[in-house]
Assembly symmetry: C2
Homo-oligomer: 327 residues x 2
Amino acid sequence: MPEITILTEADLRAVVGLGDDERRAIEAVYPVISAGRAAMPPIMRIDVPAHHGEIDIKSAHLPGWPGIAIKVSAGFFDNPARGLPSLGGLMVVLDAETGVPLAALFDNGHLTDLRTALAGAVAADHLARRDARRVAVLGAGVQARLQVLALAHVRTIEHLTVWGRRGDRAAALATDLGDELGVAVAVADTPADAARDADVLVTTTPSTEPLVTVDMLHPGLHVTAIGSDAEHKQELAAEVVRDADRFVCDETGQSGRLGELRAARAAGFAVDVVELGAVIAGDAHGRTGPDDVTVCDLTGTGAQDTAIASLAVERCAAAGTGTTLAT
Amino acid sequence: MPEITILTEADLRAVVGLGDDERRAIEAVYPVISAGRAAMPPIMRIDVPAHHGEIDIKSAHLPGWPGIAIKVSAGFFDNPARGLPSLGGLMVVLDAETGVPLAALFDNGHLTDLRTALAGAVAADHLARRDARRVAVLGAGVQARLQVLALAHVRTIEHLTVWGRRGDRAAALATDLGDELGVAVAVADTPADAARDADVLVTTTPSTEPLVTVDMLHPGLHVTAIGSDAEHKQELAAEVVRDADRFVCDETGQSGRLGELRAARAAGFAVDVVELGAVIAGDAHGRTGPDDVTVCDLTGTGAQDTAIASLAVERCAAAGTGTTLAT
């Protein structure tokens, strides 16, 4: 009799977080992507314009990984008026050897939040200066918070600056993170103010207009752009992508369609692109010295979903959490 | 607190079958597809060559339908050696207004089997002669069986002929269906023998070579081709598609990529294609008289999955079946 394990957000929060093992699990998938060994189809997207909704489906098979995750992300932007969160989702995990469903993860998007934050930490770990101390984040939502917390595992943060469209939310996030991490904090009035003294700048907004312009680049800066994951989104001016000493992305095709590479190419700029996996594998250089400006665009991949879901399922099984049903 | 309903194959078998309401639910989606009102992205496919596996993901949003199904089909062809079925799958249903997950349906592919059989009955209902009495089926598997049972709801079957690659399985299926439907049966030695006196011929095989050739067409015949759902599959010779008085398909783009239209176009034949939804809606003619040869190619659509899953979830809710968990 086949069995399926049902895992809730609470089950998952109890076993996976932003720790080193989780980050290494995410790090491990990038070389697989860059070597062309991940079976990772383009994102499937279903638009529901009547309710300002969109559903994205991602998946990937990674040779050697025990499971294949299929991740459903829903963004329905009329939801707040109904008292519901805009973003949600779930994952299902199939046995990679038999295709048999193993688990359904009703995480309400939490695993996506985690793997996205962990990816930011992986990018910074490989591309930011070793002595980076000053961090700035654009955006004041869940992802801004998680990016900073994940980054604190790979660099010693001494100062954090937050910029957000809503100053009150930026101030609240800065206060929270200052308390949690024990670091000095500031709230910036503009993205330029946030970027000015930063060693690491992380952009986490759904902006459709560039927030980071080329005049904000300064020697030694590393920028990780998280927000753009659709054709109409953009956080970095095309010139930022062009003028960085190194432009890195998680998956070139996707960055060109949905990420920061899109606008740069549309502007006619020839960009020398290297994938994060090639940098991690040592097949391509990242930062070559303390004064380089590095930029990493992360659009988010099904491979990360398969990695975090596989880890979560394994840990829940070890801990005996979840509900198992005969199907 | 959000809740999710978990439905097993047994839960689903108890509430949905091959009845008239189910068929009408499937019939209703075709005009939506043909009017261009379904948001139905191309099938997402993940190949797992190390285990002779493939995963197909289908989905569709139909305006006015309460749910959006995301259907995962797995075919892992090393499974029989492990004592597992080759084919399986599951569906999840999201609320079409909010994107919130409503239900996970661990149906092991049963709902796909049903909606595919119901689609065959819809096609025959609209395209076969009203007085069709003699049915032939190529293939002797689950889908062959279900196609005949569904067809019995729309035409009065008096005689059934089964052809299968394995004669023993064809004989067993013929005997079973003869008993179940109370009709005369025969087993054919060749596809041509099966087709000879048929009013309705249904092809349900994974063949990669044409089984139905143009010499088998005779006045009044209706052919429904179910099997081809991938680039390498083909049940009908290209000339069959060309020479039919009417060639109908469920979705033109998909039939051209994965169905019987592909080989006909590759042969350079100009095929006058009409979608089943246009025939159902009365926007295009189907059969114009008793001697027409009609052909319908069904590749299977996410819209059908959304229709059958929505009906199943509604019926399980009304019956109070399934397991509800807080997420």
